[in-house]
């Protein structure tokens, strides 16, 4: 019964976060625009060499997703801090993991929506030829995004009480995400170029392992970082 109640609370938080985000509009536009801008800047820096662009596509794409996502994570707690809503949220009975799960799922949906735009622009800008194994690339993107969002949502909660949260979040998050980014980039690259050396399997395994570790650790630790 208590578990069902927590699932109901999780659903309510997802609905609330996505509704406020949809209505404020500025948030999603800013995050998507930042992702696209980063891709354009990478494109400009690499120059008109088609081969160089294709080689760098996976790295540029994941970095664009990472930098834009940090904005989204900060925003997801800013909504709670405005008007003291975080206090009200913590006063509701129920398990703390329900709050984290709600925030995590809402951020996942938000980042996935941003990903669609960034990937579409990336394909055009970097002249990427869509390979036959494109469903595998989609799968890798999902795995990579889960890792980024799990840690991002957790560290955003941790830094939300700090006055320097905008600075603190990237400082905490980026070093922790290096393994996820590396695995995501390498696996994406391997599939983009036909996975001739069958290198993707190891990267996908590593990515899945990191996702599991990060999800379990953040769910368990959330209670301790959100309470003062």
């Amino acid at each position: 019964m208590a578990f069902r109640d927590d699932i109901r609370r999780t659903r309510a938080i997802v609905w609330k976060d996505l509704t406020t985000e949809r209505r404020s509009k500025a948030g999603f536009s800013a995050v998507a625009a930042l992702g696209v801008t980063i891709l354009v800047l990478f494109g400009l820096a690499l120059g008109p060499d088609g081969k160089a662009l294709q080689n760098a596509a996976a790295g540029a794409l994941w970095l664009a997703i990472l930098f834009a996502s940090v904005l989204a994570f900060n925003r997801s707690y800013q909504v709670e801090l405005d008007g003291g809503a975080l206090e009200a949220l913590l006063l509701y009975p129920g398990s703390r993991w329900a709050i984290f799960a709600g925030k995590l799922i809402a951020n996942l949906i938000f980042v996935m929506a941003m990903l669609v735009i960034v990937v579409t622009v990336g394909i055009v800008l970097f002249d990427v030829r869509i390979p036959a194994q494109w469903p595998s690339i989609v799968g890798i993107m999902m795995l990579g995004v889960v890792g980024i969002v799990a840690l991002g949502t957790f560290y955003a909660a941790m830094s939300s009480r700090s006055r320097a949260r905008e600075v603190l979040l990237p400082l905490l998050l980026y070093p922790m995400l290096i393994p996820v980014l590396l695995a995501s980039m390498e696996a994406t690259k391997a599939f983009l170029f036909g996975d001739l050396l069958s290198a993707s399997g190891a990267w996908v395994q590593m990515l899945s392992l990191f996702d599991v570790i990060f999800l379990v650790a953040t769910f368990l630790a959330f209670e301790y970082v959100i309470e003062v």
Binding site: D5, R8, R9, R11, A12, W15, K16, T19, T20, R23, S24, V79, D82, G83, G84, A85, E87, A88, L89, L90, L91, Y92, P93, G94, S95, E227, V228
Partner: protein, 235 residues
Amino acid sequence: MALDARGVARRFGARWVLRGINLQVRAGEMVGLLGHNGCGKSTFMRIVATLLKASAGDCFVYGSNVKTEGDDVRHHVGFFSHVPGLYDDLTARENLAFAATMLGFPSADIDAALERVGLTHVTHERVRGFSAGMQRRLSLARLILQRPRLLLLDEPYNNLDVAGIALMNGFIRELNAAGGAAVVVLHDLVPAEGVIDRTVTIREGRVHVPTVADFTHDGASPEAVTRPAGAAGVS
């Protein structure tokens, strides 16, 4: 016992804000909490509401320890804070629907709560456009939905007009009649006239027991301008 605080202390860094609060509130009792700005009233309320952890001491709400049984405590406590705790981009009704879901209460009561606080004309409007007083009323509607057994009100009359104050007092009396208890942080006793059973003053992080000197100070002291009588039951 609705609230049983024993030596509750809290420090922020090296500074002790609360130095050992002892306060007992019986079920059905309404207690006013007085004191200068920064004396620790709000910190104490936040500890009771499970929003802050005490650095020392124990605190029980209907027998549940706020430190170790926070979830049980949250089932009993309703906290009305300085800040409205609402979402600007949700409508009044959506804010209450969200609260009802989180509390596990039926959303059928939402319309009645909105009517009670006089916000039926803005049910489907976003909170962003509400005045401070309207936001306070909506926060009160959330408490009405919850019907807590222990009400913690931190300066509840701020931004409320005369009708709003009457509404708040009506809710407190109703809760009192149902056997609930309340701790109300006040700077001015006048709006709470006839609602509060006794007052307790906090000074320098401790419950202050008034002396004759308190009544001979100039008007700058809250203990001097309010009535500190009825400090019995506290130490």
